[in-house]
Amino acid sequence: MLRPLKNLMAIAPLPERRVDLEVVADLVQPGARVLDVGCGDGGLLHLLAETRGVDGRGIELSQQGVNECVARGLSVIQGDADTDLEDYPDDSFDYVILSQTLQATRDPRLVMANLLRIGRRAIVSFPNFGHWRIRASLVLRGRMPVTQNLPHAWYETPNIHFCTIRDFLALTEALDAKVERAVALNGNGARIPFNAPWEFWNLFGEQAVFLLRR
């Protein structure tokens, strides 16, 4: 379930993918304890260990991804964001990261609540369904959008809970979470200026990265 989007990230243009990881990594304090939920092939964990000296762990749904990570010396278990976060005690980590995975979970609200319970901070990145190209597809073509970054038809997509940046903000409010930082990336992976209003981000951000705390 986490895998297909990771695959898609892997075949996306390289600079874009790197920017996404680097934006997330920039939000992490050096030496922190980090859990990466949906860690794929361990690219982010590897980057965090190399550049920030973090004590990193991962959960990945695909067994192949897990085996790849462990063979690289990363601490990763096979597991499911929807069911396996319950095991972790409160405050187990400084940061819990959910990178490009929220939209593929069955119960995003519960997953988010668990992230904020397990970690002192949560970092969540997701594709913004409010982006103008997606809106255009719905409004002008009357079809569910299929884009370079979201290539699945509606009947086969693993992404069952898309949201816009505004939707996500509403969820953080419902969960009483504080937004410490937020970054929106445009189609080229470049950061959209920090002082832009939410509606501008919601229209032109293809991806969003949020740093949250309880």
Partner: protein, 400 residues
């Protein structure tokens, strides 16, 4: 069973010799250094036989303890002194192998209750001059681990870099990590569980009853009477061996193929290849193993329940652990299925421990941990290399 061990006399003397005065190194402890057992009594004098491979480094940080399974022994990576066959873990352990003896100092000890030189029911009781037989107190996995810790003390090693083992060896790994968290930097429990299941106890009971039903068992005093419960032990091994293989692997290997005959014989000879194979497994096993040891060691596995030792909460066995764990299971293992490993992983998560978990896809069943399984090798190599770098253990000479 048609064949009888043609070298029985030779094997008997070799087995007797290895039980008391093994060909491998042995650490001996006096009556003053008696080992307290979970059964509530102590045993002493006692001894533990072991093998080692590679070199202990100057800061004594590169020692790996291998824990063997039910019928294994300390000869993990050298030829068996009894059968002359290669050690049971030569697939995984050796120069350049995943457990790299060019980098690590690797120790493997025969378990308490075993029959290869560590104190067990075949050991001569100094009080009588006869084998202990059933006069030896029952031992547990915890007792095995405490005995190993005494050996590690004697070798002058404070902290083990890693403890690695499969099946009952994996139980020992979990017990080590729980009992001595500060002495275990990394732990690799493979194809194991935190307790022996009801089904597993059931299979063991079949094996024990087969041994005790053999008239040559003599209430356990067969060695003193110059006998051996060969048939009972062979049947025990045959039953157990089925549990080590998957249905698919059996079907792939043997199917319903007939053994050296064009058609069924309408009799009870070994018509099918699988029958012949099991009979061979049973017979070759009795040449190298002691029946009473089989009773003791299976019992130790049955008694293993790490959660029960911690108020029923497995996570409490690992509270505050700083050990790095790498849990491995195999898809077709029905003796210790993946869910048993997952229970351990969940408990480790609940204790906020550092854990990796890999399920290896294979159709070879429980025995896969002893076989050529590249995915297992990649996992163990990657995990140990990462942990060794974190521990600051120098790579082998010539490596980057």
């Amino acid at each position: 069973m048609t064949a009888t061990g043609s070298m029985d006399g030779v094997d008997d003397s070799a087995r007797r010799r290895e039980a008391d005065a093994p060909s491998s190194p042995v650490a001996r402890f006096t009556a003053d250094e008696a080992l307290p057992l979970d059964a509530g009594v102590s045993i002493g004098p006692w001894q533990i036989a072991y093998q080692s491979y590679g070199t202990l480094n100057a800061d004594r940080s590169n020692a790996i303890l291998l824990c063997h399974a039910l019928t294994g022994d300390q000869h993990a990576a050298n030829d068996s002194p009894i059968t002359g066959k290669p050690g049971w873990w030569t697939t995984l352990v050796g120069p350049g192998k995943p457990v790299d003896t060019d980098r690590f100092f690797v120790i493997c000890a025969n378990v308490l209750g075993g029959c290869m030189g560590t104190t067990g029911p075949a050991t001569t009781d100094p009080a009588t001059g006869l084998p202990y037989a059933l006069d030896l107190p029952l031992v547990t996995v915890g007792d095995m681990v405490r005995a190993q810790a005494k050996l590690i003390d004697r070798l002058g090693i404070e902290t083990l870099f890693a403890v690695v083992g499969g099946s009952m060896g994996g139980m020992q790994v979990l017990d080590w990590a729980s009992r001595y968290p500060d002495r275990v930097f990394a732990a690799v429990p493979i194809a194991t569980g935190a307790r022996h299941s009801s089904q597993n106890i059931a299979f063991h009971e079949v094996g024990r009853q087969a041994i005790m039903a053999d008239p040559d068992w003599r209430g356990g005093r067969y060695i003193a009477e110059g006998l051996r419960p060969r048939k009972g032990l062979a049947v025990a091994r045959m039953a157990a061996h089925i549990t080590y293989m998957s249905e698919q692997a059996l079907h792939r290997k043997f199917g319903r193929n007939l053994q050296d005959r064009p058609q069924i014989s309408f009799g009870f000879d070994a018509d099918f290849q699988i029958e012949s194979y099991l009979r061979h497994q049973g017979l070759s096993f009795v040449d190298r193993f002691d029946a009473n040891s089989y009773l003791y060691v299976t019992r130790a596995m049955d008694y293993f329940d790490l959660a029960a030792d911690h108020g029923g909460v497995l996570a409490k066995a690992f509270t505050g652990s700083r050990t790095r764990f790498c849990v491995v299971s195999f898809t077709s293992d029905w003796l210790f299925p993946t869910r048993e490993s997952r229970t351990v992983v969940h408990a480790l998560n609940a204790a906020a421990a550092n854990v990796s978990f890999v399920e290896v896809e294979t159709d070879r069943g429980h025995d896969a941990f002893l076989l050529d399984e590249p995915e297992l090798f990649r996992t163990v190599r990657g995990f140990l290399t990462g942990a060794a770098n974190a521990r600051g253990i120098a790579p082998p000479a010539g490596a980057v």
